[in-house]
């Protein structure tokens, strides 16, 4: 639809929107200037990424002799594979933590969102507002007692502790998204289901969950990125290297290689690849998810 309107509007515009001589002269300059500015901003924005990629595939002497922005004198892909091998345990831990956390978050929040959106009960709006507010609770308010609780439960330095905590932290936002989504699904589907003889659980499971697929893909992409990228819980809740996620891993990697910047950059690239791939592949879902809930970043 957007395409249609822009086409229609671009046809008569030259004839209609003549404006003053000054404005007509300004037009091409304005546009050229705008494009130039946009390109410049994009370049500046992209420099950190570009520089890191460049650094990752070079040797240290190459960097010190030719400067950080020169093209590599030789491409050292071995840096990346070496970094990958060293990061492997952390990547593995991140996968083991992230996937169940995302799945758990989705299940719990879909159920809650369905109830908040489609059922009429006392305290519903109140409950919803509490959940919205909770999505702003800073991690700092929970760090200490959660650390203590996990130690008491004997869950310190386990994957389970991290999974539980991630689900807990993501519940408010995910419930908000799912509630808002289910609000857009016609309530008659639930009534049709009731008449067809479905129980509340069956209606949820066989009608609303499948219908929620578009919202789910957006939520999955967002939650995956956020949980994968978390650092503080990974620092606080782990001890040995086996349970540390890749965000903690990159820090120890940095400590290990100190000024071997090509290796540090390689480590950063390897650590960033999973979320980057997900982001590039599902950018649309990612953006849609952000604008659906639009609170975090």
């Amino acid at each position: 639809m957007t395409d249609m309107t822009t086409q229609i509007q671009s046809l008569p515009q030259d004839g209609l929107n003549r404006g003053s001589l000054r404005e007509r002269l300004e037009e091409p300059f304005m546009r050229g200037g705008q494009i130039g500015l946009l390109l410049l901003l994009a370049l500046v924005f992209f420099l950190p990424v570009l520089g890191t990629l460049l650094t990752a595939v070079r040797t240290i002497p190459d960097i010190t002799q030719n400067g950080a922005w020169a093209l590599p004198s030789s491409y050292e892909w071995g840096n990346l594979s070496h970094a990958f091998v060293e990061m492997l345990p952390y990547l593995r831990a991140s996968v083991i933590i992230t996937l169940p956390s995302v799945a758990g978050t989705l299940m719990v929040s879909m159920m809650a969102g369905y109830a908040l959106s489609r059922m009429r009960f006392q305290g519903r709006i109140w409950m919803f507002l509490v959940i919205v507010s909770l999505s702003f609770v800073p991690i700092h308010t929970q760090l200490i007692p959660v650390f203590r609780l996990m130690s008491d439960l004997g869950l310190h330095d386990t994957f389970l502790a991290q999974i539980i905590v991630h689900i807990m932290r993501q519940i408010p936002f995910a419930v908000l998204i799912m509630t808002n989504f289910f609000n857009t699904v016609p309530g008659e589907l639930r009534e049709a289901g009731r008449i067809d003889g479905a129980s509340e659980w069956t209606i949820f499971r066989r009608i609303y969950v499948p219908v929620a697929r578009p919202a789910l893909s957006a939520l999955i992409v967002l939650e995956f990125t956020w949980i994968w990228n978390d650092l503080l819980w990974g620092l606080v809740l782990t001890q040995g290297s086996g349970k540390k996620p890749v965000t903690v891993g990159i820090l120890s990697f940095e400590g290990e290689y100190e000024i071997a910047w090509n290796m540090v950059a390689s480590g950063a690239v390897v650590a960033a690849i999973p979320t980057l791939v997900v982001f590039l592949a599902f950018q649309k879902h990612f953006i849609r998810g952000m604008t659906m809930g639009s609170v975090k970043g």
Partner: protein, 358 residues
């Protein structure tokens, strides 16, 4: 198949009483239309029959069994929703058979029933499609198919045609009616469109503000509306209502003109009445009621004259091709029944007929 009995039914939303004690008896196999303006409680009543709304007071019986406490699925009813409520992620065949799947019917049984329903509704080529791949009329038919497959005691329709364009609405109207005649299942049909109600129903229940105004066959309501509400609601264009008072030999209107009537002898002279005259009963006359023309709207077969008698707006449907302009005056006389209503109670007093003037 079953009869439905609605007995003193009340519905409260908080402090608001939406349904104020309603009694309706629906015979086995009957097609009943609940009709009225929006907010009159017709949809609420239907949803109470379906079990989607709690019943505050009174009872609803389906097939002789009180269903007040029963879940929708235990009531043996099927419902067609205004927006069809088709499951968007299921193909047509699955949409139609979802209830049977839930009930644990065998694959073979499901296949046969779905095929039967699809044949009746001409949906056979579409069974493998998703709802989004269908036209509005086809979706409508799938919604009906979903109801037919269940073979329920009662069909419930909630304004099922209101999302279709005018032409399709007319053909679906006939289709639903013939379907009902073929299946013979009791049907309750909610609509705000009185023409739909008139053309389809065996019996019409006219509702307003949570009450029943009148129950009867379409022609009963047309010929003998029980009160001013029904008089104005049934028939299109709607009945002209003129204030006046009984005088010797007829009724005198506010602008001073008199209409000679037979059948007003029983009323005392000077009694205020409202005379209801259907637009299509007017015919041109030498003398008679003076209609000041505002516009004339030719439709080919007839001409609709919109004007006023005194200060009261009137509509006349004339068979002649009249080309009146603003300010012209036409003289007309009613050649049909003139309904008399009491302005206070708004109830029907009786029917008079225009007398020949000498």
């Amino acid at each position: 198949m079953a009869h439905v009995t609605i007995n003193q039914v009340i519905k409260n939303y908080g402090a608001v009483r939406a349904i104020k004690g309603i009694d309706v008896g629906i015979e086995d196999g009957e097609f009943v239309a609940l009709v009225g303006p929006s907010g009159c409680g017709k949809t609420t009543l239907l949803r109470m029959i379906a079990g989607l709304e709690d019943i505050t007071g009174g009872t609803i019986e389906i097939g002789g069994k009180v269903v007040n406490g029963l879940q929708p699925k235990a009531r043996d009813i099927a419902m067609v929703f205004q927006n069809y409520a088709l499951y968007p992620h299921m193909k047509v065949a699955d949409n139609m058979s979802f209830s049977m799947q839930l009930a644990g019917a065998s694959k073979e049984e499901i296949r046969v029933k779905v095929q039967d329903a699809a044949r009746i509704l001409n949906l056979e080529p579409y069974l493998d499609r998703y709802p989004r791949e269908l036209s509005g009329g086809q979706r409508q038919r799938v919604a009906m198919g979903r109801a037919i497959v269940r073979n329920p005691k009662v069909f419930l329709f909630d304004e099922p045609l209101s999302n279709l364009d005018a032409k399709l609405r007319v053909s679906m109207r006939a289709e639903i009616k013939s379907l009902h005649q073929r299946l013979g299942t009791t049907a309750v049909y909610v609509t705000h469109d009185q023409i739909e109600a008139m053309t389809m129903a065996d019996k019409i229940v006219v509702m307003s503000e949570g009450r029943i105004e009148q129950v009867g066959t379409p022609l009963d309501l047309y010929d003998e509306p029980a009160n001013l509400f029904v008089a104005a609601f049934i028939g299109s264009p709607s009945m002209n209502l003129l204030e006046g008072e009984v005088c010797a030999g007829g009724v005198r209107f506010a602008d001073g003109t008199m209409l000679h009537l037979s059948g007003t002898e029983g009323f005392e002279t000077g009694r205020p009445v409202i005379a209801g005259i259907r637009p299509d009963t007017f015919e041109l006359a030498e003398r008679g009621l003076a209609v000041q023309v505002n516009v004339t709207e030719p439709t080919g077969a007839e001409t609709q004259v919109v004007g006023q008698i005194g200060d009261t707006p009137v509509t006349c449907l004339m068979r002649e091709r009249i080309s009146g302009r603003y300010g012209d005056v036409l003289h007309v006389l009613p050649h049909g029944p003139v309904h008399l209503f009491d302005p206070g109670t708004r109830l029907r007093l009786g029917t008079a007929r225009a007398a020949l003037v000498n």
